[in-house]
Symmetry: C2
Subunit: 311 residues, 2 copies
Amino acid sequence: MSAIIAIDIGGTQLRVAVYPRNSTTPIKIQRVPSRGLEDGVFDRLTALIDSVWPDEPVDILCAAVPGPLNPYTGIIIETPNIPAWKNYPLAELLSKKYNVPAYIGNDANLAVLGEWLYGAGKGHHDIVYLTISTGIGGGVICGDKLIEGFRGMATELGHITVIPDGPVCSCGVHGHLEAVASGPAIAKYVCEQIAAGRESSLGCGPLTARQISEAAHQGDELAREAFVRAGEFIGQATADFLHMFNPSIVILGGGVSFSGALLLDPIKDSMRRHVMDKAYLDGLEFTTAKLGDDAGLLGSLAQAHIKLSEK
Amino acid sequence: MSAIIAIDIGGTQLRVAVYPRNSTTPIKIQRVPSRGLEDGVFDRLTALIDSVWPDEPVDILCAAVPGPLNPYTGIIIETPNIPAWKNYPLAELLSKKYNVPAYIGNDANLAVLGEWLYGAGKGHHDIVYLTISTGIGGGVICGDKLIEGFRGMATELGHITVIPDGPVCSCGVHGHLEAVASGPAIAKYVCEQIAAGRESSLGCGPLTARQISEAAHQGDELAREAFVRAGEFIGQATADFLHMFNPSIVILGGGVSFSGALLLDPIKDSMRRHVMDKAYLDGLEFTTAKLGDDAGLLGSLAQAHIKLSEK
């Protein structure tokens, strides 16, 4: 039985796992913190890969990488926390070192592949996956095919305009979904309202979506309102995604989605109000991601299986 | 040599053409006005098909139909000007009558297939086609595949939100692109401005985009401004489409696109300002549709060839 190596270049951890060709249960898994890896990060990654390298022949290596990259050339354009990886040909370097085909994919795009093959999207052919955490990302499957686009930069779902003259987004453009509904955007709203004199059990410091969620569950009205406001924008954008992609399932992932009904109910309510025709909601599932922390590794595994099946 | 029958259920004409299997030059073509066809329209259509039916064996019939429909079941949900065709199984009825496989497709979706195989999109693998006339529609090809979605209702590009609290769209939702940048929306803006006291060579009656375009070319400032305003919205939406689909070409079709630089320049200018990363513009073509009046027939022909190649 041959093996597959899956790599997850995460915001907090670098993880590598070996899977048997016919299973989603890893044979071995290793991780190191991804902070402090600015120097020599490729050597650290290969040391990690070496440490799990199996006796079985390895068919393929796949890596999930955050940030813009070209999945066709295997070049990372840039990725958070690893400044040295600018226009970095990671796939080629891995492939040469191990003499095995190697691929990289945008983490949100691989996450939707993972949810499709092993998670909440099983059996669906048309999936919109939206991940809400520090940023907002997405991946879309249409007719059993990942939407990648000319340079592999498609489905940047966080960068759809929701308020033309709204706050500046991380990308520099005004009014994108990410600028008003990501974790930091929710925290910023709470701080602004406190600064404007609103009462809250929360202080105006570095707040996480989790802290705001806990405050809301304990009855903090401002905290609750911050999620309703974010949900309103996410629902408006989700209606647009329905009109663009007509999925049979919308899957919400990312840390902010753990806030549960606090966020999901306003999203669903807003989506229903913004949809152009009820036919888009007919048979539509709306659910949260199932793979959680394993999204990166299982997404890479899913990508590996798809690449192997294409050969 | 076998033949293909292409049908175009247009707003002003019902057209049927016979193509040899290996050519885009029709052997025969027939048309009737599509108005006044409320009663007995299926009989009129089949009479038209009968009138062109060739001696050669017919491999397939394909029809381009405006309005929402299900391309998988071949059922028209509804279509303008033919109220009798509500939940109407046109593909099945045609297939039964002629004992030949028959398919229907949304006219904008078939138009992008036509532009891809025979028009402005030749050689591209990722195409966004936007048609601006009475309404705004669209079709998208991603990785050599038409994006259709779960029920075939994807890529309703006119129904993306551009101003959350903007004017009501034909679909009933506020602030969609169609509500602020279609031909009637451009005319409505001119009328509102004249009613508010603005000077213009135009009167405030039933205006067409062509009349406004002519006035603009003759120096009418309000007419020019109306196109700049529409272009600003279309450019903002187009940037969103780049982030969603990352095409290598954007093709503009529909009557309003004939206004030329008057509309295209403001669209391109706005698109460039709204794009999140210049990488989306790198290598991007921006052009007008090539098939013109033949979009429906050639789109149906393209669909026919794709269906035949899938068998």
